[in-house]
């Protein structure tokens, strides 16, 4: 293997991490909700898209007055807040009545929610591509001669920071412990004096924030927004399963692994099978194989069932 090939491989891996970081953020949103409420939220992709659109709206409105960096930062914060608000409202109105219902009903209601959100965004902003302004430079940075875009580097760093924050939050903070307790057994947690309803709303709000961050970075990477950006949510699902449904570390690692695998498969396998973007299904194939070997994912724990 000559130096050029090594460089391309490194490029594939680093850029794969960047895509994986967005998957990881999406997966984090899935897992946070699942951990606290046992609900699997198929609308996470739509929540992410909404966050991106909000950021676009705010930064377009503010960019003339404040300059791009300040406008973007402010837009970032406002978008995180509104997306968290939206997610909480969704939880309180639509999802909460579904607690304790069968898995399929819950999944379908979040799918229904996904349609409503996507339709809503399309209603407000229209179906066409809208440019997304961001403060990152287009010219790549060189890391040991391997080019990587500034925005991708920021994506990786931010998702790692968020991962650390949430890891510590769940491990040590009172609220985090409350969430874990709620996930374990809602009734017992309730009896122990935990405000279960607030925990539920909070978990959705956190998922909203994480989603908005993911959406903003995805929008910055792509350069334009369309409502079907939300399909990314479906692409991130395997990351959750791969890592294990109730493991935050697992979700992050699963996302990163799948991002890298996809990118390498796209680079090295796609040209040999003629036609077709193999990236579309790489993650699903990987997850199928993993499920055959470890039905609860790489980091997930097996639940013990009683009659």
């Amino acid at each position: 293997m000559d130096a050029m090939q090594v460089k391309f491989l490194a490029m594939g891996i680093i850029n794969g991490f960047a895509v994986g970081a967005i998957y990881a953020l999406l997966a984090l949103g899935f897992v946070v909700i699942f951990k606290a409420t046992d609900i699997f939220n198929f609308a996470q992709g739509e929540i992410m898209m909404f966050g991106a659109y909000m950021a676009m709206l705010m930064s377009n409105a503010l960019v003339g007055k404040l300059g791009i960096v300040a406008a973007f930062t402010l837009a970032f914060l406002i978008s995180s807040f509104t997306t968290a608000l939206l997610a909480s409202i969704c939880e309180m109105t639509v999802v909460r009545p579904m607690l304790g219902k069968p898995v399929l009903s819950i999944i379908m209601i979040t799918l229904g929610l996904a349609f409503v959100l996507r339709g809503g965004v399309e209603f407000i902003w229209g179906p066409e591509e809208l440019p997304f302004y961001k403060p990152f430079r287009d010219a790549p940075l060189l890391v040991q001669g391997v080019p990587i875009a500034e925005v991708r580097l920021y994506t990786i760093v931010t998702s790692l920071i968020l991962m650390g924050v949430f890891f510590l939050f769940f491990k040590y903070s009172n609220k985090g412990l409350g969430m874990r307790a709620t996930a374990e057994d809602q009734e017992t947690a309730f009896l122990m004096g935990i405000n279960v309803k607030r925990i539920f709303t909070m978990s959705w709000a956190i998922a909203g924030i994480v989603g908005a961050v993911g959406g903003i970075f995805l929008g910055s990477t792509v350069g334009n927004l369309v409502p079907y950006l939300s399909h990314m949510g479906l692409r991130a699902l395997p990351a959750v399963i791969l890592g294990g449904m109730n493991s935050i570390t697992g979700a992050i690692i699963g996302g990163l692994i799948l991002g890298v695998c996809e990118n390498l498969a796209g680079t090295y396998i796609a040209p040999h099978i003629g036609g077709g973007d193999i990236k579309e299904i790489t993650s699903y194939v990987i997850v199928l194989v993993v499920m055959m070997i470890r039905p609860h994912g790489l980091f997930g724990t097996k639940e013990i069932e009683r009659v």
């Binding site: 391309f8 490029m11 594939g12 850029n15 794969g16 960047a18 895509v19 339709g119 399309e122 229209g126 179906p127 066409e128 591509e129 440019p131 287009d138 010219a139 790549p140 060189l142 080019p147 990587i148 875009a149 925005v151 991708r152 995805l218 990477t221 792509v222 350069g223 334009n224 369309v226 409502p227 079907y228 950006l229 399909h231 990314m232 996809e262 990118n263 390498l264 498969a265 796209g266 680079t267 796609a270 040209p271 036609g275 077709g276 973007d277 990236k279 579309e280």
Partner: protein
């Protein structure tokens, strides 16, 4: 006696009604012609759907304000097909039951392919379809009039321009294509064209709606392509250019006919400066009988932003409408579908006044467009300029079969 007389008059009325309807063609009355149209109203294609409906109606208003065609006003029924072949099928039969005369300005390769055989069976003319697949005109289908950029021929033109005109012997061509009929046509054409010059291009594909092209760009970099031809939608073209910039890769990018869209500046940024595109339509800033006509109708009947011409599909829709109008006028008062189809077949060689190249319909061909131009994008002025005027590809789509 009185009742008998009444019966008789009713009988006469019925006979008159039936004999009258037997004379006229379906969808054509004394003072109107009814056209059908389907387009997606939601999802990725909705923007074009909105535009095609609006432009078709604007054109009809323009004609109706001038008194219609031979005294008949044009009207339109619209169905939402959500770009879904299943719904297109039901939409088509619904339109048929509503007794349309013809389908006008429809697009989308999978919707059109879904009803391809039904249209032939029902003998309803489609004028025109913008579905970007050679399946629409090869082999010839009597009732399908095709008007779009052919991926296959555009691919050949790319090679003709690089290896023939510019004589860049060392150029290595790569192609990045959307993995549908249109993109696959593009890949085939690029390979056929390259073979003529003794080259072999590297090909990578993307799925429509894909938001990450890193691996595609990496593959192109590894094969050291100096020219990258992209077959797909304009925003994706902008994204490809940007992804390449992010990876420090700067080949000459060449877009397909829908990429002749100044908005790539907004999506892709300054890096889009200097990109080429293979066009099948004229440019908005040009003069010409057809383009002026299109601008006039747009300005008069369309709300912003569609009151100006800025994407190729607008010009193609006007070109299709113009062809339909010419054929309807030449049919005269006694309009039937068959006569209309024959008249359309005779519009070949019609000067489109700069909208598109020479119209290619004939008795044996339904391929409306066979002339191409090469354009270059200027980021600063946000417009395209011409590198090479109307030309035929050195290998035609018909010859490849």
């Amino acid at each position: 006696m009185k009742t008998k007389g009444m019966f008789f008059s009713v009988f006469l009325a019925v006979v008159f009604l039936f004999s009258h309807s037997a004379l006229a063609e379906v969808g054509v009355t004394e003072d109107s012609i009814l056209f059908g149209h389907f387009a997606p109203m939601s999802g990725p294609g909705a923007y074009l759907g909105k535009m095609s409906v609006g432009l078709t109606q604007a054109w009809m208003k323009h004609i109706n304000d001038q008194g219609g065609i031979h005294g008949r006003k044009l009207s339109l029924i619209i169905e939402d097909n959500k770009y879904d072949p299943n719904l297109t099928k039901t939409a088509f039969f619904k339109l048929m039951d509503k007794k349309i005369f013809a389908l006008i300005n429809v697009y989308g390769s999978s919707p059109c392919v879904a009803i391809m055989d039904d249209v032939q069976k029902a003998k309803i003319p489609v004028i025109p379809t913008y579905a970007s697949t050679h399946l629409m005109f090869l082999p010839m289908k009597r009732y399908w009039f095709w008007l779009a950029g052919c991926g296959l021929e555009s691919g050949v033109v790319v090679n003709d321009y690089i290896y023939g005109d510019l004589k860049l012997k060392d150029a290595r061509l790569g192609i990045c294509y959307q993995d549908d009929e249109w993109g696959k046509d593009g890949r085939l054409g690029t390979e056929i064209g390259a073979k003529k010059y003794g080259k072999k291009p590297v090909a990578v594909s993307l799925k429509r709606g894909s938001k990450d092209l890193t691996s595609q760009v990496t593959t192109l970099m590894m094969s050291r392509a100096t020219h990258v031809y992209f077959v797909g939608y304009a925003p994706d073209f902008a994204m490809l250019i940007k992804t390449a910039q992010n990876l420090n890769y700067r080949p000459q990018f060449i877009g397909d006919y829908v990429s002749v869209d100044a908005r790539i500046a907004d999506w892709g940024g300054p890096i889009t400066d200097g990109a080429w595109a293979i066009g099948v339509t004229g440019l908005p800033q040009e003069q010409g009988m057809g383009i002026d006509w299109a601008k006039e109708i747009s300005a008069k009947y369309m709300p912003a932003p569609f009151d100006k011409i800025f994407i190729p599909l607008q010009l193609i829709i006007f070109a299709g409408s113009k062809a339909a109008q010419t054929a309807l006028e030449s049919c005269g008062r006694n309009l039937t579908r068959e006569k209309f189809v024959d008249a359309l077949g005779e519009t070949g060689g019609l000067d489109m006044g700069g909208l598109v190249g020479k119209l290619g319909y004939s008795k044996t061909s339904r391929k409306g467009i066979s002339q191409y131009r090469v354009y270059k994008f200027h980021y600063g002025q946000k417009k395209f300029t011409m590198l090479s005027d109307w030309r035929y590809p050195s290998i035609k789509a018909e010859e490849t079969r």
